[in-house]
Symmetry: C2
Subunit: 212 residues, 2 copies
Amino acid sequence: MPDEDADLRSRLVAVGVHLVATEGMPALTLREIARRAGVSHGAPRRYFPTHLALLSAIAREGFADLADRVADTLRTGGTHPRDRLMALGRAYLAFASSRRGMFELMFRHDLLESNSLGLRETSLPLFTVLVDLVAAARPPSEVPPPVVAGALWANLHGIALLWGWGSLPLATGAGEVDALLRAALDAHLGTDPRPGTDPRPGTDPRVTAVAR
Amino acid sequence: MPDEDADLRSRLVAVGVHLVATEGMPALTLREIARRAGVSHGAPRRYFPTHLALLSAIAREGFADLADRVADTLRTGGTHPRDRLMALGRAYLAFASSRRGMFELMFRHDLLESNSLGLRETSLPLFTVLVDLVAAARPPSEVPPPVVAGALWANLHGIALLWGWGSLPLATGAGEVDALLRAALDAHLGTDPRPGTDPRPGTDPRVTAVAR
DNA sequence: AGGCGGCGTAGACAGTGTCTACTGGCTCGT
DNA sequence: ACGAGCCAGTAGACACTGTCTACGCCGCCT
């Protein structure tokens, strides 16, 4: 329930965040948001010149949320870069599955393409975190860390998508997705050289945190 | 220019294919398609109960096109599974970038979620091709080929997406994307053991089956 | 010949995003 | 203290969209 006595601008994006979480992305109508905010359908125009601008503001909130979750996960996670990367990946996938509507909204092409909205800038700090972790977790190589981080992110995002709409026909369980994630890490960073870490997929009890 | 004297059903999807290629996905309005097909806006309802059904038919055409391209690429490509996988990846990325609107349409969540449309079944043969190639290209391991293929596909799809809207801040050139693709292959299959042009002995490319 | 069934038309309806004309109330300058 | 101006929000119009329903028209079959 969004704050009642705040300026309309923040109330609108709060309503939007609440709405996309409960009703899904197609419910993010300009008029519906205005309705739930208790104003007429023309009111948002004072603060957002177009519908996409409002959606972008809501999506920015989503990026902030994701960044917070990743930060929390990294704070409570292990110290080894490998573990931190695994935690980051899990947080990413958990976000994609629990906040599915918001995730869709965040990566809508027509939002990202309108570069005047600063969405790319919003998603960039997350990427730098990933780059740093990759640089720390990987033995030095000739291929620069940002490329590896990009590939890893692409992999992560692809897993989130394909898993999201169930088009990974064989790896549908949460544990299998975790295996997929671990495989991705092994793939891009080389297999984990640490002894005592069981590389067998599916045996990690922390996996269940990802399930919807 | 779609065929003039064909049954309306195929004319509609032909118009849709042409339209999404020239004007982009938001132009795929039911009324606009009907307009370009020279019929009234209610006519498509005879053949497609809803707008999404028509879009799904168009998307199916896209999947068929992608399968054909992949088949062509595999036919003219090298014989080593590694080369074939690289060609497949390039074809996938080329499709995603040249037929961008169609690519968006094909992977729209609301199309994929309506499972009664058989889209998942349409995209499955492509996946099996990938699985076979992965099985042939990779040394035997305890992690099953479908999982590796899934991870590879996720990686591929993620690259296509992130590259598509330019959110891979550092790898924007076509050559760099190719490097990203090669890195993905190295990552999921292990680094290419072939030194130069020397084909690896013992691994015969036994996969020639193609989709459709 | 006549009925009939399918194909396409035309219009209504609710809903959308954008734009414009218009208030009501608040602040601010004099 | 008081009128001017301005600004947030209202209300309605407009061109769209997708869906639904009632209606003709043409050809086919018995």
